[in-house]
Amino acid sequence: MNGHAARRVLTLHLGVIVLLFLAQFALPDYHHTNVARIMVLAAYALGYNILLGYTGLMSLGHAMFFAAGMYGAGLPVYYLGFGAAGALVTGVAAGMLLAALFGLVALRTSGVSFLIVSLMFAQAFYLASLYFNEITLGDQGFSLSGNLAPLELGGASLGFHEPALKYNAALLLFTACFLLSLGLRLSPIGRVLIAIRENEERTRLFGYDSMRYKLLALVLSGGLAAAAGATYALLFSYVGSTFASILFSIYPLLWRLLGGVGTILGPLVGTGLMFYLVDIASGITSAYLLVVGVVLVVLILWFPQGIMGTLRAKWLPWLP
């Protein structure tokens, strides 16, 4: 990529971050909270995208990484009185460790087998979170409000119930995951990951140990998912096994398909669209899932590669 194209890419993506920052001053309360939630979930989708979009491995078990981050952060706060920063570290570490262990077993498979193995691991994780309900409180879950000390920032004390803190913490998480994804995409490692997606054997014969790269992608992917899970627990003050269920493994796949295959902006677009689709439809009718389903089918018909993916294929070939 030449300098001009790189500048254009950087301008667009930083512009999106700036726009999100400015939006908090304009948005009404209700949408303010929604967008904060969307940004956290989009960080999750970005994590998912590293594995599927850039490495070509489709997982149906990412909820276990999201939930590992959630429990990894929530349990130390609830039982040990950890602060937010410490909880974020333990949450991300839990997700990355789980991803590494999972990868050592599951990366022996690929394609549909990998999908099934990831699903089985995630189900085992989900059932374990129910089984150990004396600790995790199962699907009833637990709230962190009252356990989490306010964040001290230069003399100011910010409680986690403050909308401004929620929004900016979510934005910070999203920005970190976003820049990490973009940096990875443009790095030599990103080139290798894409090559593995396109033709793994050819990549191995060009001097790359594909297993190591796939493991790296999986650990990063699990790490971002866990960071999103941990942040979700801290900002929205709830930890429960619902987040480990299959539904939360399917969501990032849907967000990503809707947003755009293998693009950096796709996860944000897909997550936001899906969120508001459900939000608006459920305000109109109780059969909102039917409406959501129909809209999704229509969108996929018109945008077979997702919204950003189709934009790229038709008009913006330089989009990473």
Binding site: P188, I189, E198, E201, R202, R204, L205, F206, Y208, D209
Partner: protein, 251 residues
């Protein structure tokens, strides 16, 4: 033939065997390739040529025997480690990254030797990669198509792109598996010229069906049939060899 063996070979296989179930695809093969030569391996379909080079580049593991490269035993070495020693393989079936631009296709092998150390894995001077990419594309006569998608190229150009990818990997031993397959007459001529140029800096191991190409390029020819080497010699000797005529040339 004795003269070839006397020089310390770049590549040597010793009693190399590969079985697939009941079929012995490569049977007790001793192949010696001297540094700097163009060696052709010919033989009828199913003779075991592709299996043999598959073991040399590390795609396939032999059942028994050894592979020596520059005097080192590389039998157990993984394919990505062999590339770092300079063993580069191009597939019989065009094997490019179809969905990526030509630039990206060539950049993957071009960046490999630059990725040493942790920092270089995260960020490379893209100019260094770009210089290698453009040099490799220029060497095969494909300058100016860097931004095109690889699958938009004509078949002959896809084969050339594949050669550019191999060159970008900086081969010492370049294994070409039927490079002229499916090419038009003029393209074959261009390819022969290219292989000669490449051979000035690297050793070439060429699997080829097209006899005029073999006769024009190779210094030595190895003939395989049913997994074994049945003859070896200069192109002129091979043409006269009675066993070869029976097994391969069908006369």
């Amino acid at each position: 033939m004795a003269a070839v063996a006397a020089v310390a070979p770049l590549l040597a296989t010793e009693a190399l065997c590969k079985r697939f179930g009941g079929l012995t695809a490569v049977d007790d093969v001793d192949l010696r390739v001297a540094a700097g030569e163009i060696r052709a391996v010919i033989g009828p379909n199913g003779a075991g040529k592709t299996t043999l080079v598959g073991m040399i580049c590390g795609r396939l593991a032999p059942n028994s025997g050894r592979i020596l490269y520059q005097g080192r035993d590389i039998t157990a070495m993984r394919p990505w480690e062999r590339l770092m020693l300079g063993i580069v393989y191009t597939f019989q079936v065009t094997s490019i990254f179809k969905g990526l631009s030509c630039y990206e296709n060539v950049a993957l092998p071009a960046q490999r030797r630059l990725m040493r150390g942790f920092a270089a894995r995260l960020a490379l001077g893209e100019q260094a990669v770009a210089a290698r990419v453009h040099a490799a594309l220029a060497a095969v006569g494909l300058s100016g198509i860097a931004e095109q998608r690889a699958d938009s190229l004509a078949y002959g150009h896809q084969r050339l792109l594949e050669l550019a990818m191999a060159l970008a990997a900086e081969p010492q031993l370049l294994i070409l598996d039927e490079p002229t397959q499916g090419l038009a007459e003029a393209e074959i001529e261009q390819l022969c010229g290219l292989v000669r140029t490449i051979a000035q800096g690297a050793t070439v191991l060429l699997i080829e069906h097209n006899m005029p190409v073999v006769l024009a390029l190779a210094g030595h020819v190895t003939v395989m049939d049913a997994g074994r080497i049945i003859a070896e010699g200069t192109p002129a000797e091979i043409e006269r060899h009675p066993g070869v005529q029976k097994a391969y040339l069908g006369r």
